[in-house]
Structure formats: structure tokens, C-alpha cells
């Protein structure tokens, strides 16, 4: 069952640092929704995902955290201190590292997660295969994980944690290795699993978020500078040029605003849906 994720004036400072990595973040993602965390390099996006997953405190126990994190009905003050897998699953940015490399086939690699959880038996193979089918990679089940292309590796990496059926899914820059076709497939996948898992993902620019996200948050230097929906983001986009995908986007928005006036953002969103 998907869980809501709430942060209440959450702040975090790494041990030995003078400035906080995250300062006064408040956000609420209702259960079954998809939240995009946008921002340039070092904005604190990864730290935010890590604090929710529990791995942050585990590795930097002397860091300073304040505020509150709520996941489902459980409230952590200020943050979970143990890794919350399989309730919360977190996929690292680099899919080649996410895949353990200790198993010889894709199927075995996904079994590895269930073995770790003590959940594996011969009957679970059916659910692995159906997950692979869902991700469009069932034909790769017997392949060696290290021989796959970037996009295929990304989907296998995703499968290694989706098999645990997490309530909250945290993805760190899932788009880096993907071409357009694979991006389309990922957005379909997001729509398919939202019932089961609340999704939070990070990205450096807004394009993919405009296609899939219900909640969009923009971070800059550890501070939250925007939180709202797609329309709100486009309305105020002039203030966050760092998350524009390109100069062309900047010109595009400017010209559409000139020609369509207040309808501009609606027009852009509508046009995007037809692509």
C-alpha cells in the first residue's frame, strides 16, 4: 500500500560542515502520488532522498537533523535511523552500481533481493517474471546483467527494488542513462505503480517532471524555493532558470507568453501531452 510522505521544517547538516545541506524543508506528498525534486547540482536533492530512506543517519550518525519526517502513519523525529527497506526503497543514481554483480542472470539478480529479505522460494519466481514483463524486460531474464545496454540496466536496477513492493519509492536521477524511448517507458511505468507506491524522484531539469509529477519541489542550495503543481511551476518559471532544460525553453516560454497571454502555461502543457 502506498504511503504518504510528509516533511515538517526538516533541516540537516553534515558532520564537519558549517552550512546546512537542507534547511527548513516542508513538503507533503499524498499517498499514491508522484513528486519531482528538481534543482541544480548540490542543491540537496540526494540528501533529501537519503534522509527519508534511513541511510543518511546510518552513515553520518553525528550529522545534525531537526524537524520531522512522516511516512504513512509513522512519524520520525527528526528522521529514520535505520534503513527502511522494504517499506521504503531507494535506488542509487548509477544503475551499474545498483546491480550487485554477484549473480549471473537478471532473474537471479532480482531473486537476490528476496533472498536478503528471507522471502525467496520457488513460487516467487512467477512474480519476478511478471514484474519483468511489466517493465518490458522479460526477454532479458536469462541474460548476464553486465552485458546490457544503459537503458536495460536502468530497468533491471529498478526491478531489483520494485520486487520488494515498497510503499515509498525513492529514485535518484533515474533519467541519466535513458534515451527518449526509455523515458517514455519510464513515465508509463510511473503511472502503473503509483497505486502501489508513492514515488519521489530527483532530476536536474523540469521536462520529465512536467510529464509525470503531481507535486513539484524546487531546491536551491538546500532551500526549498518552490512547491506546487506543474501549472504553478510554469507560471513562476522566471524565478528558477536553473531548472530550465535549455535556452530554447526559455525563449519558448517567453514567446508563448507574448502570443497567448494568461493561457500560455495551459497551452504548453496541452502541447506536451500530444507529443
Amino acid at each position: 500500500m502506498a504511503h504518504r510522505v510528509i516533511l515538517e521544517s526538516f533541516s540537516y547538516q553534515y558532520p564537519g560542515q558549517v552550512t546546512p545541506a537542507l534547511a527548513d524543508i516542508s513538503l507533503a506528498v499524498p499517498k499514491g502520488q508522484c513528486c519531482a525534486l528538481l534543482g541544480p547540482t548540490s542543491a540537496g536533492k540526494t540528501t533529501l532522498l537519503q534522509s527519508i530512506s534511513g541511510i543518511l543517519h546510518k552513515h553520518h550518525a553525528s550529522g545534525f537533523a531537526s524537524g520531522k519526517i512522516v511516512i504513512g502513519d509513522e512519524s520520525y523525529a527528526p528522521l529514520p535511523e535505520e534503513i527502511q527497506f522494504p517499506k521504503i526503497a531507494y535506488a542509487l543514481q548509477d544503475p551499474y552500481v545498483q546491480i550487485s554483480g554477484v549473480r549471473e542472470t537478471v532473474l537471479d539478480e532480482i531473486r537476490f533481493t528476496l533472498e536478503n529479505l528471507g522471502r525467496w522460494d520457488s513460487s516467487t519466481d512467477d512474480s519476478i517474471l511478471s514484474l519483468l514483463r511489466h517493465l518490458g524486460i522479460d526477454h532479458l531474464a536469462e541474460r548476464k546483467p553486465t552485458t546490457l545496454s544503459g537503458g536495460e540496466t536502468q530497468r533491471v536496477a529498478l526491478a531489483t527494488i520494485l520486487i520488494a513492493e515498497p510503499d515509498v519509492l525513492l529514485l535518484d536521477e533515474p533519467l541519466t542513462a535513458l534515451d527518449y524511448v526509455a523515458q517514455d517507458r519510464l513515465s508509463d511505468l510511473f503511472k502503473g505503480i503509483k497505486e502501489r507506491s508513492t514515488i519521489l524522484f530527483t532530476d536536474t531539469h523540469m521536462e520529465f517532471a512536467l510529464a509525470v509529477a503531481d507535486v513539484i519541489v524546487v531546491l536551491e542550495k538546500g532551500r526549498m524555493v518552490f512547491s506546487g503543481d506543474r501549472k504553478g511551476l510554469l507560471d513562476h518559471i522566471d524565478s528558477f532558470e536553473s531548472i530550465l532544460p535549455s535556452h530554447q525553453w526559455k525563449e519558448l516560454i517567453r514567446t508563448v507568453k507574448v502570443s497567448q497571454g494568461p493561457e500560455a502555461t495551459e497551452a504548453i502543457l496541452k502541447a506536451m501531452e500530444t507529443i
Binding site: 534543482g39 541544480p40 547540482t41 548540490s42 545496454s149 544503459g150 537503458g151 536521477e173 541519466t176 534515451d179 527518449y180 524511448v181 536536474t204 531539469h205 521536462e207 532558470e241 536553473s242 531548472i243 530550465l244 532544460p245 535549455s246 535556452h247 530554447q248 525553453w249 519558448l252 514567446t255 508563448v256 502570443s259 497551452a267 504548453i268 502541447a271 506536451m272 500530444t274 507529443i275
Partner: protein, 248 residues
């Protein structure tokens, strides 16, 4: 100076052709954008340019030098190539030392000056004495770009320089390219990032299954419609929205 590829084919020993009959030329001061799906042979082409691989048929010349007859360290004095996972090549304990590696190896008389200029162009002066591994990954990638610039070569070749970069680093690259094109340097860039590089490209080449299916101006490619789709690619979203909204 000019790079010219004449009917180049390449295959690994005993394997099928990775590249087939490629002909193109680029002058200094020009920007060739090379696009194509993964596995189309783009990285192989870059290795052919600096002589790490030698063509099985045809020839590539960098200025007067035929790559078949010269070793990589010599060709490296005229074209600097960075590969897709360049973070793997970092070994020095400061950014400045890392960037100075090429000009030192190539025994450039003005090595110091080249290093400082490359650091400035990539906006890395403020972190020049940091350890490369203390920088965020995106900035570390700029370190390798700076390392290539510092070689002071006429030609620069990059493999996917913007992968994993945010808009901040991308605009650094954007300005760097503008600056160096004005200086008369030549670029060969392999990238999916059409939005950033369409602006600079004096020519675009589409590589599909080892062969060139298109070479020409950016505008011709945008207007041709199907070439990109046939190569498994598509126009950037902003171009498509513009088209849908019938904007100029």
C-alpha cells in the same frame, strides 16, 4: 587546419563492420555534431580520430598527418579526445594538477597559461586546489573537459559531454564552446543533447548502424523530418512544442 575522413570503415578483428564508408571533413572554427543511438559506433569513431584505432579501410587525416602512420601521443598534440566515462581517468589530488596533465605530457611551453585558461573557461578557478573527488559528479565532469582544453589542440572531440550535467554546468559548456569557436578551434561532439548543441553546430551528422544517413546544416535536419526518427532519435521537446503551437 582540417580533419578529413575518406571512406573510412572499421571492424574489430574477426567481427562485422562497426563503421561503414564514412566520409566527412571539418575545418578549424567549425562544429560537427554527431548524433545517433547507443551502439551506432560513435565512440569507435572518436578512437579512430586520435589513432587509438586504425581504419580497416579508407583514411583519416588530421592536418598533414595520416592517422594510420602516426602514434596517438603525436596525434594528441592536434586533437584532444575525451571519452564517455571520463571520470575514470582522474588521478591527481588537485583539480589544477589534473588539468595540467595533458599540457605537461605534450611539453607545451605555455603549459601553465593553458592550464589556467582552461580552468577559467570551465569556471573551475575557485575549486582549483580541491581534490577532484571532493567535487560533485557533474563538476568533476567539467574537470575532464578542462583537461582536454588545456592540451591546447586545434581540435576538440567530446563523447556525451553533457550527460548528467545540470543547467548550470551546461551553460558553462555553452559559453566555453562559443568562446573557443571564435578563437578558431574545431569541435567534433557526440551527443544526445540536441537542444544545447544545435546552436553551435555548423554541421550535423546522423550515424545509424555504422553509416552516415545525413550530413548537413542543422536547419536542413530539422526540416527533413524523418531522418532523426529513422535513426531512433527525435527532436527536442521544446522544438516539438514550438511546432505544435505553430510558432516561428
Amino acid at each position: 587546419m582540417r580533419i578529413e575522413s575518406k571512406n573510412v570503415s572499421f571492424s574489430y578483428p574477426g567481427g562485422p563492420d562497426v563503421l561503414r564508408d564514412l566520409s566527412f571533413a571539418i575545418e578549424s572554427g567549425e562544429f560537427l555534431l554527431l548524433v545517433g543511438q547507443n551502439g551506432a559506433g560513435k565512440s569507435t569513431l572518436l578512437k579512430l580520430l586520435n589513432g587509438l584505432l586504425k581504419p580497416t579501410h579508407g583514411s583519416i587525416s588530421i592536418g598533414e598527418l595520416d592517422t594510420r602512420h602516426h602514434a596517438t601521443p603525436l596525434l594528441a598534440g592536434h586533437i584532444s579526445v575525451t571519452f564517455q566515462n571520463p571520470a575514470d581517468q582522474i588521478f591527481a589530488s588537485t583539480v589544477r594538477e589534473e588539468v595540467a596533465f595533458s599540457p605537461t605530457n605534450l611539453r607545451r611551453a605555455n603549459a601553465r597559461e593553458l592550464t589556467e585558461k582552461a580552468l577559467a573557461l570551465c569556471n573551475l578557478q575557485s575549486v582549483a586546489s580541491h581534490h577532484p573527488y571532493d567535487l560533485p559528479q557533474a563538476q568533476r565532469k567539467l574537470v575532464t573537459v578542462a583537461g582536454a582544453l588545456a592540451a591546447g589542440t586545434t581540435f576538440l572531440a567530446f563523447d556525451e559531454p553533457t550527460a548528467g550535467l545540470s543547467q548550470i554546468e551546461r551553460s558553462v559548456l555553452d559559453q566555453m564552446v562559443t568562446h573557443l569557436l571564435n578563437e578558431g578551434r574545431g569541435f567534433i561532439v557526440v551527443s544526445h543533447d540536441l537542444e544545447l548543441f544545435f546552436r553551435h553546430a555548423t554541421r550535423v551528422a546522423v550515424l545509424s548502424r555504422g553509416g552516415l544517413t545525413f550530413t548537413g546544416k542543422t536547419r536542413e535536419l530539422i526540416e527533413s523530418g524523418t531522418v532523426l526518427e529513422e535513426a531512433g532519435l527525435r527532436l527536442p521537446t521544446s522544438f516539438q512544442i514550438k511546432r505544435r503551437l505553430k510558432l516561428p
